[in-house]
């Protein structure tokens, strides 16, 4: 049997390493797939299957997609349940000696997509890892597009049920499990039955107990935002974190600056909502179509930013049980509700804030372009105003947000000084850096813009000195700049002219001076493009170093956004502030079902009271004919209780 061609040998090596993925192998302007991958992809993406010589007698089946449209194809494959390994050219093929160096730079999986066409802007895209040991579980959850990272463990009774509740809380797109969980078929099947989720098995060794890497690279926080001290009690959570980090390493291949803090949370801190309650109450997802319309979130979401939208969803998914924390939130909402002008000013400012979290995610991945930088800058420019507004607040929570809000003036000024206001999409074609930011850029740019004038000047000077009236300056890719003289004037051409080209009715010449100017102009264009790119990358990494500061401000902004949204909804729909205490009583006057009320013609919903306590009124038996409104009534009580406790 003949040998495979060198390129194909390399392809096969890569494919063996990423055998569970479809490998997108970059060849020039295309990502190509070969053999079985090609057959699969051509079927799933309706691409034509062709062939390529590979050194064997038979050609290798092949199909490909153009690199600039790859995102769309990748997202289609991901939705169909495939993983895609992207194998890039790591050097310029023109400059390469022998076969071009290529390697996998990223593996795209449902839990790690970054392509904005696959992300819902008001929803986190989580990847979760579950470490099972005996009856216990450790869990770690991350949204790599924003950097959010949580971890916990389940060591109480009914562990598996608690685990299902946690999965329902986060609804991850992908779950990475250790072998022990993967092999317990019954549990895995239950997870698959209940959730539409992609499950990946990860080697047991990845889920190590080692704490060093974690503690050196991440800030570790507890529920209360205090540093974690007692790691020994967090062993299973740590195993889950290690498993997840290892998986992220394998798929993302680069250190991600924006993933820098891990929040350890205790499950008992949040209202425990079992899976079926979460589903039936339709808090953030409709049972029928998983959509947002017709859910509690749909009624309560008046957030102005994508970050606020995600934050609100998280809050609704984990209501608090601590009376003190709940009261702080309620006070803040009340203050914003009562103070309409204050709220209006804040909202007006929030509306100008872009998705800072995902923008810095892009920076950290090295994907951010000039426009992203400008969006980030414009967002940061709202911070001083927000800070000023918050300085007038009275309640504890808003004051706290005031203290935590970093205005990031240095960052926004830096971007403002470096990047032009309306940069192009590409970062590799120049035209990004502002005048005055870098001397060399300015000098080269002068050469490119004024160069045209220099050429025109030369033309005028030569016309004059030679007396050739119809002399023209021109440019071709092959010969560069030239002076063109028609046959009738050839006698006037001086000796210092160097002949370049002869055409039927004219001759083209260059002069020493023209060559020099040309060098300056042509060199400058190439140089400025390269330099602008370098400066842009440098700026991006400067910002990368300050990511934690930016994230803190983003957190303040999104919290404020949710609080304002609650206040606005409360005013619109005439909701009042509940009195929350530990008496164990539920006393609702004129309660309404937030969603049904909104769907019915206004004014037609009938309000009802509820009274329950721990003594005389514990169990209400509710009867009534079909369609009377029993289910609506009960759900309304549950939703009102939940809304009272959303932090």
């Amino acid at each position: 049997m003949a040998e495979f061609s060198p390129m194909m040998q390399h392809y096969l090596e890569i494919k063996e390493k990423y055998s569970d993925c479809l490998v997108f192998y970059r060849l020039g302007d295309f990502y190509e797939m070969f053999f079985d991958d090609a057959v699969t992809a051509s079927r799933e993406l309706e691409l034509t299957l062709t062939g390529r010589d590979c050194g064997q007698e038979e050609r290798a089946p092949m199909c490909g997609v153009p690199y600039h449209a790859a995102d769309i194809y990748i997202s289609r494959l991901i939705t169909k349940g495939y993983k895609v390994a992207i194998c890039e050219q790591l050097e310029d093929p023109k400059k390469a000696v022998g076969i071009v160096k290529r390697d996998v730079i990223r593996v795209v999986t449902p839990g790690t997509v970054l392509e904005s066409n696959m992300l819902d802007e008001k929803k986190n895209n989580y990847i979760m890892s579950i470490y099972k040991t005996g009856l216990f579980f450790g869990i770690a959850i991350c949204d790599i597009s924003t950097g959010d990272f949580y971890a916990s463990q389940i060591k109480e009774n009914n562990n598996f049920i608690k685990l299902l509740d946690e999965i329902a809380r986060f609804t991850p797109a992908e779950i990475v499990v250790n072998e022990m969980l993967f092999d317990s078929t019954e549990e895995i099947n239950k997870i698959k039955e209940r959730f539409e989720v992609f499950i990946t098995k990860q080697k047991e060794e990845s889920f190590g107990e080692d704490l060093d890497i974690i503690s050196q690279n991440f800030t570790l926080l507890k529920d209360s935002e205090k540093p974690v001290e007692d790691y020994k009690n967090q062993l299973f959570a740590i195993c889950a974190i290690n498993g997840l980090l290892e998986y992220l390493n394998q798929t993302q291949k680069i250190k991600l600056e924006h993933i820098n803090t891990i929040h350890f949370y205790t499950i008992s801190r949040y209202m425990s909502l079992d899976m079926s309650a979460r589903r039936n109450l339709e808090i953030t997802e409709r049972m029928r179509d998983k959509g947002k319309k017709g859910t509690l979130l749909w009624v309560l979401d008046k957030t102005s930013t994508a970050m606020g939208g995600r934050h609100l969803r998280r809050w609704l998914n984990d209501p608090l049980i601590d009376v003190f924390e709940i009261k702080q939130r309620l006070e803040a909402v009340q203050e914003l509700k009562d103070n309409i002008i204050f709220r209006g000013d804040i909202i007006a400012s929030l509306k100008k804030v872009y998705d800072i979290e995902r923008l810095i995610g892009k920076i950290s991945f090295g994907n951010a372009n000039g426009r992203d930088m400008i969006s980030l800058k414009n967002s940061m420019k709202q911070l001083p105003e927000l800070k000023e507004l918050l300085s007038k607040s009275k309640c504890h929570l808003l004051k706290n947000l005031y203290l935590r809000l970093d205005e990031l003036k240095d960052m926004s000024e830096l971007i403002e000084s470096a990047i032009i206001d309306d940069p192009p999409i590409s970062v590799k074609d120049g035209g990004i850096i502002k005048q005055g930011y870098n001397q060399d850029v300015d000098r080269y740019k002068k050469a490119t813009t004024e160069g045209k004038q220099w050429i025109i000047n030369i033309e005028a000077k030569e016309k004059e000195s030679t007396g050739i009236k119809n002399m023209k300056v021109g440019f071709t890719k092959v010969f560069g700049y030239y002076l063109e003289v028609t046959k009738s004037y050839l006698s006037l051409v001086p000796e210092r002219y160097i002949r370049k080209q002869t055409l039927t009715n004219c001759e083209r010449y260059v002069t020493e001076e023209l060559k020099e100017v040309e060098n300056e102009i042509l060199g400058a264009e190439e140089k400025v493009i390269a330099l602008e790119y370098d400066l842009f990358v440098e700026l991006r990494s400067k910002i990368s170093k300050e990511i934690e500061r930016i994230q803190k401000s983003a957190y303040v902004v999104s919290t404020l956004d949710v609080l304002c949204s609650f206040a606005a909804v409360a005013e619109d729909l005439n909701y009042i502030m509940p009195i929350v205490d530990n008496s164990g009583e539920i006393d609702i006057k004129d309660g309404r079902h937030p969603v049904i009320e909104k769907m019915l013609p206004s004014g037609s919903f009938v309000q009802n009271d509820t009274y329950l306590n721990l003594e005389s009124d514990r169990l209400s038996i509710i009867t009534g004919p079909n369609m009377a409104g029993k289910s609506t009534y009960m759900r309304q009580v549950a939703l009102i209780t939940l809304m009272a406790q959303v932090r």
Partner: protein
């Protein structure tokens, strides 16, 4: 699975919502499940969670007089001739009438069928009234007792005398006696 999870997990800090549990199972099984669950939850030693429990089994309204902390509510409707008007108001006290037929009418079931259903309902109601009079004489557990009788009737009904050996017959008798305990 879901109800059993609730029973295991719920404490006096919980709010439990039970919507028609037992529906879908055969009438008697459903009733006994619903009954047992209500008793369990109302028991403060075992659970004591605040609970809203919607049910079609009007028998459960009897719990109000048996267990402290249980309160009956119903969602009010008004009958207007043959029609039914939903008032959507929750009021104290149980209902024990059947409205299924009205709903059928609302849902566009042909008139003939509704009329026939009404006839059947009338005969049934006559029978139920007899039972209700009995009930007044026997205190306490009567409804569960009637339910047991019905189960026994069901068991006997299922027996095929032609196929029954003497030993089988004895076994059936043992089962019946057990049920009556």
């Amino acid at each position: 699975m879901e109800v059993s999870t609730i029973l295991k997990e719920a404490t006096s800090n919980s709010l439990v919502i039970l919507d028609e549990i037992g529906r879908g199972t055969s009438t008697y099984d459903g009733l006994s499940i619903a009954w047992a669950v209500a008793e369990y939850i109302a028991d403060r030693e075992k659970c004591g969670a605040k609970t809203l429990f919607a049910t079609h089994y009007h028998e459960l309204t009897e719990l109000e007089s048996k267990i402290e902390g249980v309160k009956n509510y119903s969602i009010a409707v008004k009958e207007k001739g043959e029609d039914i008007i939903f008032l959507r108001k929750i009021i104290r006290g149980g209902t024990d009438e059947s409205y299924g037929i009205h709903v059928a009418k609302l849902a566009g079931v042909p008139n003939k069928v509704v009329t026939r259903a009404n006839e059947i309902l009338k005969t049934l109601e006559r029978k139920i009234t007899v039972k209700k009079e009995d009930k007044k004489n026997v205190a306490g557990q009567l409804d569960m007792y009637n339910y047991k009788l019905a189960e026994i009737a069901h068991t006997i009904d299922k027996v095929d005398i032609n196929e029954l050996t003497p030993i089988d017959a004895l076994n059936v008798l043992v089962k019946i006696k057990e049920k009556l305990k």
